[in-house]
Symmetry: C2
Amino acid sequence: MSQKAELNDVLAYIDRKAEKTVAGLQELCRQPSVSTTHTGIEEMAALVKRRLEETGFQATLHRTPGHPIVTGFLPGKAKKTLLFYNHYDVQPAEPLSEWASPPFEARVVDGAVIARGSTDNKGNIVSRLAAFEAFLAVRGELPCDVKYIIEGEEEVGSPSLESFVLANKPLLAAEGCVWEDNTTREDIPILALGNKGLCYLELACRTANVDFHSSNGQIYENAAWRLVWALSTMKDEKENIKVEGFFDDIRPLSPKEEGLVDKMKPYNFAGRARKFELRGNLLGLSDRELTRRHLTAPSFNIAGFDAGYTGEGVKTIVSGRARAKVDCRLVVDQDPEKILACVRRHLDRRGFTDIEARLLFRSLPAKSDPDAGIVRACEAASRRLYGVDPIINPFGNGSTPTWIVLRHLGIPLASTGVGRITSRTHSANENLKVADLIDGAKWMAAIAEEFASL
Amino acid sequence: MSQKAELNDVLAYIDRKAEKTVAGLQELCRQPSVSTTHTGIEEMAALVKRRLEETGFQATLHRTPGHPIVTGFLPGKAKKTLLFYNHYDVQPAEPLSEWASPPFEARVVDGAVIARGSTDNKGNIVSRLAAFEAFLAVRGELPCDVKYIIEGEEEVGSPSLESFVLANKPLLAAEGCVWEDNTTREDIPILALGNKGLCYLELACRTANVDFHSSNGQIYENAAWRLVWALSTMKDEKENIKVEGFFDDIRPLSPKEEGLVDKMKPYNFAGRARKFELRGNLLGLSDRELTRRHLTAPSFNIAGFDAGYTGEGVKTIVSGRARAKVDCRLVVDQDPEKILACVRRHLDRRGFTDIEARLLFRSLPAKSDPDAGIVRACEAASRRLYGVDPIINPFGNGSTPTWIVLRHLGIPLASTGVGRITSRTHSANENLKVADLIDGAKWMAAIAEEFASL
């Protein structure tokens, strides 16, 4: 009980320092760091390193083929290590005209910091640093060893992260990891314990080096038709993916995972249908079935199709070239390279040897054991702070690079943070409520405390 | 024989006046008349009317909802009427940088007039006027009554022609018609006796009012997939068109037409395969089979397909909207409106009621009786001038508006003129050899002469 009393002191300190914490967030947000355009990256990496050092971390800025990665280490009381992952880069702010307040001024409007990066992901960095600062001020030490990795390419697919992690395993070794955020959150914390994989393919067909006048439509192969025919063999109208081998490596859910899926609140598709003018629920499935499908099933999606004339009105050509983007979200243990091989074999067997399939991007699916220490720590922290169990998405919906930590380092993780559905991450008027920033710091403090005491 | 001697005088007059004829072509070409941009249209219509009047025609400029139509009439010796169709509008000249000589300067370079419209279609207008001028100079009269219709919207699909023709049937009544040109020609004349129809559809599918993030690919309908599935039911990989009713109205070829098809020289697909980097002949068909297919079969072509992200690299979305352009070339007596109805019924029967099908453009297939007087006149003229039978394409390959004359006026026609494959119509450096212009005038004189004497 004495330790819990002490945590209350830490939480009270976080409240007292709220103004400084907000100022710290504003400082980070006022430094643009757009990874797509390489804007302000070096300045931001240096700033993050300085902030880690000011908090007491031993920090290092690592050069990579892309943007620098900053790591930090600060020993604590318990001899176990908790790793935090964040990223200092942000999405572009455009279109600027849609912002109510300039994206890199970080003004506080109606109790929220309006800025690109305010939630994704600088608010999460700042909330964590505020928690560490509170421990150090109140107790003189962190509850356990803490490592930090902050990269600068998350918004462009983390191209440097995997090789960095593989080359620095001892530096990053830990027993648990808190990942960057989880951008849906209602009144109780939501944890995501992994990520879907992504196999992003480009299928290209060329039947001639020109587009022919369509008065020759009877006598020339049309690349658009070939791609239509090829795609139509890959997924049928009932949404059945027909690529042989696509499902081979899917691991069944554990009873614990089944239980977690059952506990997820079903999405409200009637509301979505109104908002997005949907024809109705996919395949007529119920909200619960769709929710389960979203959590557990892979996808085979056409992200783009481009052939021939795509403007307004009439142009009469035989498409000599056609291209489709196909993205497959993968579940454990599907492998993007094997999916590519399955697609290639599928095409070849059906005579579509002329259709090129290229892997443009890949990430692997991965998930933590829901009984891992970091998950139990989050559960205990949720009960302590909020009096409820957290919501646990055992697989994650996105394709973040948690797999690099899960697979290459073998560290179980939970992704959780300050994000809300109203945070407008990636959009104009991205924002973070000051109350959520401070609450997020307490949440991180409680997780670290519980993790240390497991 | 005396009349034939007289025709030689007419032909000799055409030779003597070659310089004036070239100057007359240059005058027309130096007046831009781009129908797409409405550039110079009024000036060009007035100029065409003046040139008809200078030749001796009674000419009228008719207002339409679009560009003016100019008609002319000049009585001749025989009491039968030959109608000539041309158009005074041209394609845009862009890209200007590709022209060796400015497109509206009409310079003579290496014995050819280089100008937008030099062949298509002003060279044809001028060659016909030169023939009439020669008859009038040598004989004081034309061999028969001649009517002329010159429109200004051919390059944009002749939107005003049908209603004009329907409202002016007596004005245009004739026993035969010489259509604008035939743009493939080797050493002997080629006649086209009709046109394919065109049913140009836009198929549009919308599954949501947004594109979703593709991490939701498992749970939202994808418009691109729906359109792929729908299209794949319409034509199979063996190029079989599966839309019920599509073939219902096709009229079998007459024995005479079969004979004409057999006489067509087969296309050289090995050469085309090299030039255009084709995979090989469509369906492995022979040159002769492909040539027959081109002449006699309808098509069901995807002219464009557009959905989701079509740029370079990766964007991860579920396409909420997809659109395809489908153009069907039709043969006698397929009807574009009925084809649209077939497509609609086909979609509905397969559950694609949400896919919208709109008719963006239509023209009807039509063909002349190959025994018609105008065809026999052309045959006789070819034998007289060149000592050979002409090549006759009994159906035409393109979708020109010959059907308006064939169907609404009931006038059989042959399309023939000064065009060559090297004329580069619609492209930069469109050109007409002076020798072909003068030869074209003689060819028109011979046709009129033979038509009058049938």
